[in-house]
Amino acid sequence: DVKVTQSSRYLVKRTGEKVFLECVQDMDHENMFWYRQDPGLGLRLIYFSYDVKMKEKGDIPEGYSVSREKKERFSLILESASTNQTSMYLCASSLVGRETQYFGPGTRLLVL
């Protein structure tokens, strides 16, 4: 079974804090993705990585950065958290060129 894990299920942070969200997959997938999910807006792609140290901006990269130092791990960084970054964050992985993405359970982030 493909397993995608995320470091936290719930996080509460203060405005201006630097926030790290970590994602690990155990299926040797090349592709990894970070989405945020908001009511009525669905899943929006923040960043995408197709290989170690490679990254590509998604639809809403502003205010975020990512790091992929190892194939199995993809980190999302909020450099200075703001209240409008309160959201559900979902990580996913897939094989390159394959459409099926496998998702982690999500991290619900509240920025106060």
């Binding site: 979902l90 459409e99 998702f103 982690g104 359970p105």
Partner: protein, 111 residues
């Protein structure tokens, strides 16, 4: 305009009813369509996929694509309370595997 549009609902049906979910898409080049199911406080998981036009059936679930009207549908027969979830349509937008998702429709099946 978003590339994939989906009514967010919620859609409430009694147990045993047929659930009908729909999405529209704007790019006629899209060839492959997927439905993901997301239970509360969980990540989405792939439910069904279908190529181009036509139907695909898997147990109580049927996925349909109508390319002429750029319309995709998911039908759930004999719905159960365990089908209560958010259903998201999706389509690949490049050869790397990036997906464009609809907003998701929340379905509630009441006993």
């Amino acid at each position: 305009q978003k590339e994939v549009e989906q009514d967010p609902g919620p859609l409430s049906v009694p147990e045993g009813a047929i659930v009908s979910l729909n999405c529209t898409y704007s790019n006629s080049a899209f060839q492959y369509f997927m439905w993901y199911r997301q239970y509360s406080r969980k990540g989405p998981e792939l439910l069904m996929y279908t190529y181009s036009s036509g139907n695909k059936e898997d147990g109580r679930f049927t996925a349909q694509v109508d390319k002429s009207s750029k319309y995709i549908s998911l039908f759930i027969r004999d719905s159960q309370p365990s089908d209560s979830a958010t259903y998201l349509c999706a389509t690949p937008t490049d050869s790397w595997g990036k997906l464009q998702f609809g907003a998701g429709t929340q379905v509630v099946v009441t006993p």
